[in-house]
Amino acid sequence: MRRLPTREELAARIAEDIPEGAVVNLGIGAPTLVANFIPEGREIIFHTENGMLGMGPAPSARRLDPDLINAGKQPVTERAGAAYFHHADSFAMMRGGHLDLCVLGAFQVSENGDLANWSTGQPGAVPAVGGAMDLAVGAKEVYVMTDLFARSGEPKLVNTCSYPLTAPRCVKRIYTDHAIFDVTRHGFRVREIFGGLSPHDLEARTGLKLHD
């Protein structure tokens, strides 16, 4: 892609990479968009940690069911083949390694795959962790969807996380608005660059050492 993708385009790019039959959990926020872009004819089963497999998209405004919500407390729908279960069973699915993939947001990802996405450690902030730590340790593959740069301009891909960790060494791939990165034994590897930058440009702007 010559220009930088919109958030929706990035979500569609992630959706393309999810294989038929995968069981997927989408984190709160931007990752939720991925569900809207699953290619026609591909069957993906969505898990929501508040007790459901087979979650469908948001309902129309007049068909909101308060008993049928996702982990972000947004109204969702039920697809054929759905199943409900309680919270311990839901997290047993996650922690027991049964989810194929989760897509999470991030404050920072380090080059060894450490993820920080639950707390910026600011004094006075109300901390909240939810299911982030369970997803990060439990899903077979952890993908991150994020802007490459925070609003402050600081890159979110870093050598070492300065924010409190969600889990160490868990992220496998990062989809950003500038490029897609894999986490390898040697650090970040660029899979794909958007908007015409060179790998060298990316290194300059992020201060990271990138690998092929």
Binding site: P66, D67, H86, D134, G138
Partner: protein
């Protein structure tokens, strides 16, 4: 004849003492036992420790209990929400204590209490500040942190139907913490839309067996159902949006 069905909701919560640890079901508003919480507020107990996934939203339910000054401590995974202003204010003012627990550890610790497990090695939280100071152990190729059960004096939960044995079925994602909290408390009180005859619930589909339930209170069908079927919506701010035709979502 065994009957756990109580007609007076205040009687059902009357034996919860000051200082009790009370589990409250629900994930956000889904499955939150609003009527039981209201009865608890009216009952007047104080100095409670609340175990729940969230710490209230808007001004009802857990938020109302917090606003009434009855809660000393909250054990939860996700207190911060767009409309958690009551908790946020009390927390910043130092008027309520918070124990933050990853959601999976919260669920598994509650289950462990109900299942008689003394403690368990969990994969979640390892290498984070939420596991700091806890016992760690490498088992196989992985590192775990030791987590202990969470017991409660009482659990307040919300389900769809009950029979007089206290058998319960839930509705959609309103199930969430109800079934495990029912197992982990000395006294479990369930509010349900309606009570049904013994034998009316399919034995293959009962989610919480009556053995875990002490009191059942019927609070009437939720506004978005009619005859037990979804007839359309309530928006998340609580305003009912009736539909002209009955449809299953």
């Amino acid at each position: 004849m065994i009957s756990k069905i109580r007609t007076n909701i205040r009687d059902a919560v009357a034996h919860i003492p000051d200082g009790a640890t009370v589990m409250i079901g629900g994930f956000g508003r889904a499955g939150q036992p609003i009527e039981l919480i209201d009865a608890l507020i009216e009952h007047g107990v104080r100095d409670l420790t609340i175990v729940s996934n969230n710490a209230g939203s808007g001004d009802t339910g857990i938020a109302a209990l917090l606003a009434a000054g009855r809660v000393r401590k909250v054990v939860c995974s996700f207190p911060r929400q767009s409309d958690s202003w009551v908790f946020d204010r009390l927390y910043r003012a130092g008027e309520v204590e918070l124990e933050l627990v990853p959601q999976g550890n919260l669920a598994e610790r509650i289950r462990a209490a109900g299942a008689g497990i003394g403690a368990f090695f969990s994969p979640t939280g390892v290498g984070t500040e939420l596991a700091a100071g806890k016992e760690h152990r490498a088992i196989g190729e992985r590192e775990y942190v030791l987590e202990y059960p969470i017991h409660a004096d009482a659990a307040l939960i919300s389900a769809l139907h009950a029979d007089r044995y206290g058998n319960l079925v839930y509705r959609k994602t309103g199930r969430n913490f109800g079934p495990i909290m029912a197992t982990a408390a000395t006294i479990t009180i369930a509010q349900v839309d309606t009570c049904v005859e013994l034998g009316a619930l399919d034995p293959e589909s009962i989610v919480t067996a009556g053995i875990f339930v002490d009191h059942v209170v019927a609070v009437g069908e939720r506004s978005w159902l009619a005859d037990g079927r979804f007839v359309g919506g309530t928006d998340p701010t609580g305003i009912t949006l009736p539909l002209s035709t009955k449809e299953i979502c």
